[in-house]
Symmetry: C2
Subunit: 305 residues, 2 copies
DNA sequence: GTAATAGTGTCTGTTAGACAGTATTAG
DNA sequence: CTAATACTGTCTAACAGACACTATTAC
């Protein structure tokens, strides 16, 4: 049956015919999910007298199978034919790490033709956040040899500007450094921004990596960008504190994400309308106790009225 | 060869073996792209003496084949096995409408199991913007019977708040109205926002549609949200004016996107650092001429310092 | 008391928002 | 001249950023 005959059927007949003869006419890619899940954790080994510092961490698994066997990767895996992406990514996270019930949002879909050595794979990445107190003990499962939280540090090593014709080009060399107790994995990524007229396009390319699998360094850097952007105009950071939290703790979360100190008065004015005072207090050291707040579900972002 | 044997190979051997025996073990979905491309156009039939009003328009094609034959849809189609998504979506747009060289960014990946009646299809949607002056005459091609620009209007008909246990739920009834000269297509979409603690999730569901194909009403509303969000903190709106433009024209673009009037002084202060005076002027009516500007490529968003 | 952090009062410079004015044009 | 839109000066209220202060605690 040729295309013309096929189109002269009514829709029901067409679909039946299509399923019989057309459905697998072209080669299809596979679809996987990848989950960049972050938490804000207390640094090890600190002075008893001082309040502990915090840091941003990401969950990685060590791959038990080829390809990139023994390398560290984001949790994730193939989407089943009968599940949607949100379901698939949560299922994979649970299977590989035991982590459930986290905040997760879709991030970006990666489709470079050669991004997987096995075959054509398109991957839909997710950004997830979880508070330490909601975490069960980690347990590696499935394809994973091991699961660990890695401290995330990204540094811009170099910025180079070029002007080619009417286009302005900015190339940033970024180093991504992920460390666990005894393990360090790194990647060098080039971030290219091309501005031509009003049209600005940014792309990320891994130029060197040590211990990381696939294009996951790009995905991690992209998720960091998104996280840093959204923290300023959404409630996203509240997913990184307990249900009841203090304003100094919340401020620490913002500082860790943004990588810089914030003004206390300013921060508290900003946070005030997003929180509700529980009336409780908590004592954490040799100093004045801190008030406990909870998120104000009635808060609406009004930056863009 | 079982899984264990497979994993004892070295990586090169593994990949060769995988391609022979594992590659097509599981049923795969198809991947398509969908392009929501907008422009800001001058309304028809206006008073000579007054400056014409402008409106937001989206490009739709009438489907020449099943399913949804004769219905209106976003441009797009299947990704080839040897091309990435950006390439695929631009190729499809060109094939179906003749439009090339536009600003485009990836929007969201839609994966509901039943979103296509033929088979399992995951679709990656794109948001694109183009200035009228860069548009060639439209020409339907390929699977498309016809191509038209539709004026976009979305109205919130009703907002209902519910509180269930600790979760706050907001259900908005949205009407999407798309009109061309003689054609009107509509859809009713339910926008549900669930807030539980700090965790807010929003979903869109089409409840009724007339003349629109697939879940494209959801995609269109989602792209409108993104456009309205980004216009405030990026240079995205400059893709909707000519290379040289006046500030009143630019302001009109912002007003059309946001659906409300902006304060002139305020807008000009905001826009000032994003533009460069060309020294030229343009006369468009029986009133003072307007200065022509161009985009300032050195502008960087500093809202999130 | 001391050292440490939590939380507040208040000053200052900047910015958002609005009003009302002037400038320029075609007809 | 009039009607229309482009553009600007300036007032006010709100806000961001910073400093310095008070409050509370463990030891």
């Amino acid at each position: 049956m040729d295309e013309h005959q096929l189109q002269n059927l009514d829709e029901q007949e067409f679909i039946e015919q299509y399923r019989r003869t057309e459905k697998d006419r072209y080669e299809k890619p596979s679809i996987t999910t990848d989950m960049a899940i972050f938490t804000v954790a207390t640094e090890q080994g600190n002075d008893k007298r001082k309040k502990p510092e915090k840091e941003l961490q990401i969950l990685l698994i060590r791959r038990g199978g080829h390809p990139y066997k023994g390398h560290w990767a984001l949790a994730g895996g193939f989407m089943g034919i009968d599940e949607d992406l949100d379901t698939a990514v949560r299922r994979e996270l649970k299977e590989e790490t035991g982590v459930v019930g986290v905040y997760a949002e879709q991030l970006y879909t990666w489709s470079a033709v050669d991004r997987d050595p096995r075959m054509r794979i398109v991957s839909v990445s997710y950004l997830a956040l979880v508070d330490q107190s909601k975490l069960p003990p980690l347990q590696a499962g499935d394809d994973a040899d091991d699961v660990k939280w890695f401290t995330v540090r990204d540094t811009i090593l170099d910025v180079r500007d070029e002007v080619i014709g009417g286009a302005a080009k900015r190339i940033e060399q970024i180093e991504l450094l992920l460390t666990s107790d005894d393990i360090t994995v790194t990647a060098a990524v080039e971030r290219t921004t091309v501005t031509e007229g009003a049209n600005t396009q940014t792309s990320l390319t891994v130029t060197r990596q040590d211990g990381l699998a696939f294009d996951h360094a790009e995905i991690i850097l992209y998720s960091l960008e998104r996280l840093r952007g959204k923290v300023n105009y959404t409630n996203i950071a509240f997913n990184l504190v307990e249900d009841e939290f203090t304003l100094p703790d919340l401020q620490q979360v913002y500082e860790v994400i943004l990588g810089r100190r914030l003004n206390k008065v300013q921060f508290r004015r900003y946070a005030e309308e997003m929180v509700i005072d529980t009336g409780k207090e908590i004592r954490t050291g040799a100093y004045r106790p801190s008030k406990l707040y909870r998120y104000n579900p009635a808060w609406v972002q009004d930056r863009w009225k």
